[in-house]
């Protein structure tokens, strides 16, 4: 296969650069939260942009940010598969955790009127990094990548109702972890 060359200067490459490069930080941010490793994140982002460029002709217009993030997510899932093949132990653990907590309204959290103490960004990054994958990705896509519910549903490939329940659960977990962190410090 011919390698794509961004420097060819033809129209498609120019259009791709103009459309896709402004979202590099968004794509990299999602990669950092999904893979929790800066080196793997860089590889994944590079792979994402190569694939996006290769398939740019099939991009049907609309908003390019969710399209890029969907590609990035696929790259990351391949990376999970690779990791799981080499580190057998972690396989499926999060899936089980997710199934358990999928019964979202079984134990609704008691009303909390306590105000959260402000934590620095690194501490909050750490709290988010510890959320189970499905909740982490939904939360990051909403809070940090600023996608709409519909866009998140498209990126993740689930109905909007699932996005809403995951987001509700993610926020409940994050808030609980946040309060626990305050007590520890």
């Amino acid at each position: 296969m011919m390698a794509p060359d961004f420097n060819k200067g033809d129209d498609a490459a120019q259009r791709f650069r103009a459309a896709a490069l402004p979202y590099l930080d968004d794509v990299y941010t999602l990669a950092r939260y999904l893979l929790r490793d800066s080196h793997d994140a860089e590889d994944a982002v590079q792979e994402c942009y190569l694939r996006a460029f290769r398939h740019f002709a099939s991009f049907r217009g609309g908003s390019i940010k969710p399209w890029l993030l969907a590609i990035l997510r696929n790259v990351c899932r391949a990376e999970y598969a690779r990791r799981n093949a080499s580190i057998v132990v972690t396989g499926g653990e999060e899936d089980i955790a997710e199934q358990k907590s999928e019964g979202l309204w079984d134990d609704p959290p008691s009303p909390e009127t306590e105000t959260l103490r402000r934590l620095d960004a690194v501490a909050v990054q750490d709290l988010i990094a510890r959320l189970p994958e499905a909740y982490r990705e939904t939360l990051v896509l909403r809070e940090i990548n600023d996608l709409s519910y519909r866009e998140i549903a498209d990126v993740v490939g689930v109905p909007v109702g699932t996005v809403m329940s995951r987001l509700a659960r993610a926020r409940a977990l994050l808030r609980a972890a946040w309060l626990a962190e305050e007590k520890d410090t």
């Binding site: 961004f6 930080d25 968004d26 590079q46 997510r73 960004a121 809070e143 709409s148 498209d154």
Partner: protein, 253 residues
Amino acid sequence: MTCDEAEVLIHALIDGELDAGHARDVEAHVAGCARCAAQLAALRDLHDAMPVQGLRHAAPASLRASIERVVPSPAKTDRRALLKGFVAGGALSALAAASVGIVILRQDRDSIVVGEAISAHLRSLQADHLTDVLSTDQHTVKPWFNGRIDLAPPVVDLTAQGFTLIGGRLDFIDGKPAAAIVYRRRVHVINLFVRQGADGASSTPQFEVVQGFNVIRWSDNGLALLAISDINREELEEFVARFTAAARLAQQS
């Protein structure tokens, strides 16, 4: 609305995913329910506490540079061929969107605007609030908007063409003030909403049917316009054509 519904919808409220009508319903429930009010307060608190800018990661300059000039080596391409499962475009399939059960959620910015215009149109027909300024005289309606909205809506008299100007009204669509210019065709009301659009943007009229109403949207030199009515398509298109022509003429004189 039940607490179970409200518990999910307060997230949609905070995220700006609800139209004005549903947002009011959620707020009304929360106002009368201490438990849901506490949930909403906790959510708002979490939202405010998130240091969003600090949570973003800037791509390293080296990554940016290598993406800009990258020519992958054959070895890397081989490894990449192993990564399966990517189908271009399929990732954002229209089918996934069709599986959505919750119709109150916005689809995108455009459909919010159209949805809210329809709500505003309906409100104007139901309540005694069709017009804030009741006048068939364009020279009364146009200046009425001065100081009420940050744009000068084109107000033209189309009585001779069969569309009677009956007044103007201030409305809100997608959080922005909109000038509503109200016309009548026989017994049918046409609401023409004029809002600030993208700078200097002009686009040709697009027709669509939404919730049984005929809607035409276009933009003209930075103004975003939307005409909505239950008159038939041909008549609404005629209205838009005549309005546009008359507005251009008025601008030149």
